[in-house]
Symmetry: C2
Subunit: 349 residues, 2 copies
């Protein structure tokens, strides 16, 4: 049993599968580390918020829409590009980014389906970043989510171009005025395109990936501030864009959007700290990708830099910061984002 | 002297450098193949339209704005991504796409500077496509515009991610509402983002590049319709987006935009046919990139498929079709686009 898990949660909370099955905890005693969560889930609803069911339902909605976004037989000459895009996009991700986007839209006053186009866009950008990151001259990964990576299932040119095309499709999908209700004004669409562009380029994923690669395999360890810089760009930026674009579509005020941005930055860093911990403590079979890779590749991670215990303490701190930002919102409406933060903290894959 | 050139133009038209120096022809006799061009350039202006000066001025405006779009010291941790983006973006392209975009904006009723953000975006997308196309597992090019390609000057991860970041920056630049005059409504911004996304992904550059790669080195030659499919996606789509987005920003009517779309498709294909011809007839020194590469790589080109003479006839036909679409516009306003079509047809690099 890892100290991170035992510090946060009762023993029986950690051994079951699937990983979502214990949300919410079934005994009041188990809530002792989630005071706000207890309030939001128990004081305003008859039954506790069912995060497992929530994620299953939203992921199904997202998966169906993603599947439709890439028609199989669109081109007379070649379907290869579509096949590769479809292969990677439908390879079984947890859809955390689009679900965050839908939840933020609702919290900001909209309906979840309003944000579906931009929610899909965040998953397309995420998938594209994985496809490029997996290439042989990058992280050189053969497995992703238990399946062959795109360049192994197809080839390198196909993976490169399918990634490029997914990035373009993200912007096409998010900018399509007719896919939003009339309540969503065009200036909001322009804003969300700007957010997506920011999170995927020099202020986000691409910058984070490059600094990450250039920091791997050095003789000296990467200092903590640089590690945080990498993760804030590589991981947090896109989670931030998912939450913020959802809130923009939902009609959130500037103050609400600022708070949700803060929430997203914390869970983004949290996501990466937990990823580092899982890479060290789980098997490849459990993760569906090559485990222990960070150790083997001399990649700097939080556990390597500050140890496993302090990494877990840092994760707890980030979780607290994320939830702090949700104060001031209606607790029932905020429940999905509270539980999603917990999910990111306590996931086992 | 090539038959293409002599078929189109008097001998003295072809030997001088720089390649823009003969626009416009200085003797009335030289206009015999450009009846509409003569009308537009001579009947409505005191002096013939000076395409050379026009392109120098517009390229300078574009270059200055591109240079400003990628600040040198933006990030505390790493400037590598910016350096690589800046290196490739400022490596001396002719800026045909942004110039077309500015010209179309003016023709549609706007002022040229209105379209500058989206004009820059077209050049960023173009540069990104070259950076990815030059990678070793793609076209494997060491030289581009007389300089080392990005992955040779930096390395492969940097070229990949700088390309990704340029694509994102294109969308960030084009979607920035505050960079347009108030006359440009947000719904037009959403439309241009859609056009840029369309031209760069499955309906444009990425699809064209993939089908091109998969059609190279086969035992059977690529049929003509497939070759056209490749070029319409790989080259025409982005030229089309440049012209169409310019026209949208300028406030063009749907009919005007349709005509300009037709113009752009023709010059896009023309651009590629001429590129194929130049690869066969020019030296590496003249082109600033590896010449004869298409022949060496078993790449199907127009000259290989239909011969050099018929390729030149096809180019003439496309030039005529492009100019046909400009009828109905005010001839003086249309002059830049007429001359730009000529420039694409008669360029020597």
């Amino acid at each position: 049993m890892s100290s991170f898990s035992s510090h946060f949660l009762p023993t029986q909370f950690l051994v079951s599968k699937p990983h979502l099955s214990q949300f919410p905890p079934t005994s009041p005693a188990l809530y002792r580390r989630f005071p706000r969560l207890v309030m939001s889930a128990q004081s305003t609803t008859a039954t506790p918020f069912d995060i497992k069911q929530y994620m299953i339902e939203k992921a199904a909605m997202v998966n169906q829409a993603l599947d439709s976004a890439i028609p199989a037989k669109a081109f007379p000459q070649s379907n290869l590009l579509h096949e590769a895009m479809h292969y990677s996009l439908m390879a079984g991700g947890k859809r955390i980014r689009p679900i965050l986007c839908l939840a933020a839209c609702k919290l900001a006053g909209g309906l979840e389906p309003w944000a579906l186009p931009v929610a899909l866009a965040t998953e397309m950008i995420h998938t594209m970043s994985l496809m490029h990151d997996d290439l042989p001259f990058m992280d050189n990964d053969d497995l992703r989510r238990g399946k062959l990576t795109c360049h192994k299932a197809f080839d390198e040119p196909t993976a490169l171009l399918a990634g490029d095309a997914l990035l373009s499709l993200a912007f096409k999908t998010a900018s399509n005025l007719s896919s939003y209700p009339v309540d969503v004004s065009p200036d909001r669409i322009a804003r969300i395109v700007g957010e997506l562009a920011r999170c995927s380029g020099t202020e986000g994923v691409a910058e984070g990936q490059l600094v990450d690669i250039k920091s791997t395999g050095l003789s000296e360890p990467v200092p903590l501030d640089k590690l945080e810089y990498i993760h804030l760009h590589k991981t947090s930026a896109l989670l931030e864009a998912a939450v913020v674009t959802g809130a923009i579509i939902g009609g959130g005020s500037d103050e609400q959007i600022d708070r949700l941005r803060g929430y997203a930055r914390s869970i983004g860093l949290l996501f990466q700290v937990v990823d580092d911990i899982l890479d060290l403590t789980k098997s490849s079979e459990e993760l569906g990708k090559t485990a222990g890779k960070d150790l083997a590749s001399d990649k700097t991670t939080y556990p390597k830099l500050i140890g496993l215990d302090k990494s877990r303490e840092f994760a707890e701190e980030l979780l607290g910061q994320a939830k702090e930002q949700l104060n001031g919102f209606d607790s029932e409406s905020a429940a999905p984002l509270v539980y999603l933060a917990n999910y990111i903290a306590y996931r086992q894959i």
